[in-house]
């Protein structure tokens, strides 16, 4: 602990843990010098473009490529028939299913990839796409997941219709993917039978799309002479891509190099492997030239991974005082035409069972059924840990519904049911061990900050005048940082993560991680961790990620796992170096290791003023005269397998005013208190929270991907799909408490997804609360003006005097 001014100056110079260090990524981005996939230009590079299906369900009668191939500048047109001899016309999904790379005899969704055209430039490729003639025979379309298991439902997946297991357990119908149950069904039923009060609500979480501003793409370059493949790709998980590409192509993994360069946002959309990547790779191998594939926005919204689409039935049992006795949730999950949601293998509904929330609930039962429909495959974690957004939504909605039924204030009901600080580590009814939390303090702080009592009074006055004002609340707990390899893997690879740190002779550092930033600022924050651990200034620490030839193997960045897992690996690798440095220091100072103490950036001999060695001096000695018996050099690798997940939490409050004639919802105030444990860089945390809140606002207030009865996707451009601009976006207020994780080396929990997960039910809570005095208990998202106006009109609240 720094005490003197000189100590403080030394500590400041490090720019370590807890300081709002300015980002090291920014200089290249503000000068247009970032390198995103579409910026990569290789000699002789060709362009790929896709022929896509206009139908949601149809048999392919014939494909005629002649006219396309005759166009000057076209090098190849590939179909499933061309990929079949290579056994690449289908590919495994991360969820144990298979997905067509190019449609094999049948299309299962509108815009499905039917053929890929390779041409000299993107204009010729687009022309050639128009010249490929495909004859279709339309088939009956399945759009409504509630009809998927009907006896007369069209069978979608003929390729697996006779399989009684589609990779995630037994199934009961050709359109059924899995049933997943967790908890105690009978005990839960008993709790409901014996309860004084029971509430039940049908809650739909619409299909939404993460839609980062950079679409998906890649540049594949196969070197025929070396037999090696290099792929620049928009991936949140480059190492897993390498493993999958090796398995699919038969190339040794050591000859596959995957590079995730700068990524223009991911939000869960860039975890999976898409047909465009595979076809570009195949085309490069076949043609021996680099091939670029970059999709456009419509392709992106129509075919790449979306999120949610959960039909949830929530039920709570409680006593008259509002103490919860049981929770039951049944879910029908629409997974689209292929089961390619990206969840850890053993978790077909992700971590949905975190749906007991921040509350002490004695018994619970959850069942999720996944079904196929003629829609794009997906169900990924859009700025959240796997299905945690859905889980938080259902429990937070149900808490409001229960409060309303009992006539207890929603804040008071939460206070009565919170897990208490002394109960941690707390074992939930559905099997999670919540690591730490102080929910009462968080909510109390928020209520005080916003003058909750004052808001309630104001609302009562407004209601008496016929005006619509809503107060929303959420007090959420997430599960992030997947995860312990004993129960988390992707395709059999445990979900650890890694860091490799090298201290050079002059004391500067290069460090590489298995994660990959898509805007989170890893280059800045990982350096801060190392700076504090090793006493080397952040500015002398270079961070690199995303190149599988240089970085250690890691599972990537999604599910808020970088800080909980990658950050822990970074701290642990630094501590290995620290341990070795202590030995070297003891040798240099001719002292016993036990007589040394660490002081910011140096080891000192206790009680001997002036007897000290800085980390820089130690680094030089490590390469110059290490103690006998100690290897030269100063570097370390750590593969960190977390003992548990981390459980960030927060308390959010939202105030809305609704125009009763137009249905327009104006967010007057949004107050977000987050507890992510130890805070590494407060400036970056705040930025992440602003962004997450805005993505939550987008989901709650406008985003959805609807379909018509023929399976035509509606809303697949930015004309229709809602991305908030500066004009709609509210002003955000942020706050925090700090409850460190007891098992993380730094006490950090992860933060960037909390605001998305936590804000969505808060917006719904506020909108519904505006109508609560009229007996409304729930309204499905998105809360667009039209939909809100429909509710107003239904309740005759828009009558002019």
């Amino acid at each position: 602990m720094a005490t003197t001014a000189e100590d403080l100056a030394r500590e400041d110079k490090l720019q370590g843990l807890g300081c709002s260090r300015k980002r090291k990524e920014d200089p290249r981005f503000i000068q247009g010098k970032g390198t995103y996939v579409d910026d990569v230009k290789l000699p002789g590079m060709l362009f790929a473009d896709m022929v896509r299906s206009p139908y949601a369900h149809a048999r392919i009668k014939s494909i005629n490529k002649d006219k396309a191939l005759a166009l000057p500048g076209v090098h190849a047109v590939l179909t499933a028939a061309d990929l079949k001899p290579l056994n690449l016309h289908w590919m495994p999904t991360l969820a144990g299913d298979v997905q067509a790379v190019l449609a094999d005899e049948k299309v299962h969704l509108q815009y499905q990839e039917v053929a890929v055209v390779i041409a000299d430039d993107r204009y010729i490729a687009a022309d050639a796409v128009e010249l490929v003639e495909v004859e279709y025979e339309p088939l009956p379309v399945l759009v409504d997941p509630h009809k998927a298991l009907d006896d007369d439902a069209p069978i979608l997946r003929e390729d697996i219709k006779d399989k009684d297991n589609a990779g995630q357990g037994p199934r009961k119908h050709p359109n059924h993917i899995f049933s997943w149950e967790v908890g105690e069904q009978e005990a839960t039923s008993r709790a409901f039978d014996e309860a004084e009060v029971v509430v039940k609500e049908e809650i739909y979480y619409p299909r939404v799309h993460p839609s980062p501003l950079e679409t998906c793409g890649c540049v594949a370059s196969f070197d025929k002479v070396k037999g090696s493949l290099m792929v620049y790709i928009t991936s949140q998980a480059p190492h897993i891509v390498r493993t999958v590409v090796s398995m699919l192509s038969g190339l040794p993994e050591s000859k596959v190099r995957i590079i995730s360069p700068d990524i223009g946002g991911g939000f869960g959309n860039k975890v999976g492997i898409y047909p465009g990547y595979v076809t570009a790779i195949v085309a490069s191998i076949v043609l021996g030239r680099p091939v670029k594939w970059v999709e456009d926005r419509m392709e992106h919204l129509s075919t790449t991974a979306w999120a949610r689409d959960y039909y949830m039935t929530g039920e709570l049992a409680a006593d008259k005082n509002g103490r919860i006795k049981g929770l039951r949730v049944n879910v029908l999950a629409d997974h689209g035409a292929f089961n390619s949601h990206a969840q850890p293998t053993k978790w077909p509904a992700g971590f949905f069972s975190i749906c007991t929330g921040s509350y002490d609930i004695p018994v619970a039962y959850v069942k999720v059924d996944g079904v196929y429909t003629n829609k794009a495959p997906g169900g990924v974690a859009y700025r959240c840990s796997f299905r945690v957004t859905e889980a938080v939504y259902v429990i937070e909605r149900m808490m409001d519904v229960l409060a309303q039924k009992l006539g207890i204030d929603r804040m008071e009901l939460r206070m009565r049911n919170f897990v208490k600080p002394e109960q941690f580590p707390y074992h939930t009814a559905l099997g999670w061990e919540l690591d730490s939390g102080d929910y009462h303090t968080a909510l109390t702080k928020v209520l005080k900050a916003v003058d909750y009592e004052g808001l309630i009074k104001e609302q009562a006055e407004k209601r008496s005048k016929g005006e619509l004002m809503g107060i929303g609340v959420t007090t959420f707990t997430e599960v992030v940082g997947a995860g312990p390899s004993r129960n988390c893997d992707i395709l059999g690879v445990g979900m650890f993560d890694s860091a490799e740190i090298r201290v050079h002779p002059t004391g500067s550092v290069i460090a590489r991680m298995g994660t990959i930033s898509q805007g989170q600022g890893h280059q800045t924050t990982y350096a801060q961790i190392i700076a504090s651990e090793l006493g080397i200034p952040s500015d002398e620490i270079q961070i690199e990620e995303g190149d599988t030839d240089t970085a250690p193997y890691g599972l990537g960045t999604y599910g808020s796992r970088s800080t909980p897992v990658g950050g822990a690996a970074t701290a642990m690798a630094a501590r290995k170096i620290h341990d070795k440095a202590r030995k070297i220091a003891a040798h240099l100072l001719e002292a016993s290791e036990n007589d040394l103490e660490w002081d910011i950036d140096r080891f000192k001999v206790k009680g001997v003023p002036g007897a000290e060695k800085t980390m820089k001096e130690i680094a030089w000695a490590a390469y110059n005269r290490p103690p006998e018996g100690l290897e030269p050099g100063l570097e370390a690798v750590n593969y960190y397998d977390p003992p548990n997940f981390t459980y960030p939490f927060g308390a959010y409050l939202c105030v809305v005013d609704i125009d009763k004639y137009t249905g327009e919802v104006k967010v007057r105030r949004f107050y977000a208190l987050d507890d992510c444990g130890t805070r590494i860089n407060p400036m970056i945390i705040e930025g992440q929270i602003h962004g997450g809140l805005n993505e939550g606002f987008a989901v709650a207030m406008g985003q959805e991907l609807p379909f018509d009865a023929e399976g035509n996707i509606l809303g697949n451009t930015f004309m229709d799909y809602f991305i908030p601009t500066t004009m709609e976006t509210p002003h955000w207020e942020t706050d925090y408490t700090v409850t460190p994780s007891p098992h993380h080396p730094l006490g950090a929990k992860g933060v960037a997804e909390s605001p998305h997960v936590g804000s969505i039910p808060c917006f719904t809570s506020a909108v519904v609360n505006a109508f609560a005095h009229k007996g409304v208990t729930h309204m499905n998202m998105p809360h667009t003006s039209f939909r809100v106006w429909q509710k107003i009109h239904e309740l005759s609240l828009d009558k002019r005097e």
């Binding site: 300015k22 980002r23 990524e25 920014d26 200089p27 290249r28 981005f29 503000i30 000068q31 247009g32 010098k33 970032g34 390198t35 995103y36 579409d38 910026d39 230009k41 993107r122 204009y123 839609s211 980062p212 501003l213 950079e214 679409t215 700068d262 990524i263 223009g264 946002g265 939000f267 456009d296 926005r297 898509q518 805007g519 989170q520 600022g521 400036m683 970056i684 705040e686 930025g687 992440q688 929270i689 602003h690 962004g691 997450g692 809140l693 805005n694 993505e695 451009t717 930015f718 004309m719 991305i723 601009t725 500066t726 004009m727 976006t729 002003h731 955000w732």
Partner: protein, 158 residues
């Protein structure tokens, strides 16, 4: 497909290009001129990551034909810094944490640059209106707005 010889000034440098009638300005800037700071996000003029300055006006270069730029002056993010000195909007975006993934940033900066020429002393509401044609998925806009305000103050004080 008919081809046309066009020439225009890109960030102060004369550029000659042979383009098809249908070729988009953004593709010529990125692929023929090799200046990849200007990005492509939606191809429908909604997202604004392709925003450039064309004869003193902000345009979305994904929906401008390259032939329309013949004889004009085009400025992109690469032209903001002068003689190695960053422009005030660039400094302010770094200072106020106005960017995360960086994909919208070039368009935001070049729009902010033009907006502050049009309105050197804007209110927050005016900044919100002025930047409403540029989408960002990462920042929630709050720090972008703050950065534009800070840049305006800095430019006023010079």
């Amino acid at each position: 497909m008919a081809k046309h010889n066009i020439s225009f000034k890109l960030n102060g440098q004369q550029v000659n290009a042979l383009v098809e009638s249908r070729e988009l300005l953004v593709h010529v800037i990125r692929e023929q001129c090799g200046q990849t700071g200007t990005h492509i996000g939606c191809e429908t003029s909604h997202c604004g990551v392709c925003t450039v300055d064309l004869n003193g006006e902000s345009v979305k270069s994904c929906t401008v034909l390259a032939v329309q730029a013949d004889g004009s002056e085009v400025m992109t993010v690469e032209g903001l810094a002068q003689n190695g000195v960053l422009h005030a909007v660039q400094e302010a975006f770094m200072q106020e944490h106005g960017l995360q993934c960086g994909f919208c940033t070039p368009g935001m900066l070049i729009r902010a640059y033009r907006f502050l020429q049009e309105n050197p002393n804007p209110t927050e509401e005016e900044i919100r209106w002025g930047l409403s044609g540029n989408l960002c998925r990462c920042t929630g806009y709050q720090n972008i707005i703050k950065a534009v305000k800070v840049a305006a103050e800095k430019m006023q004080s010079v």
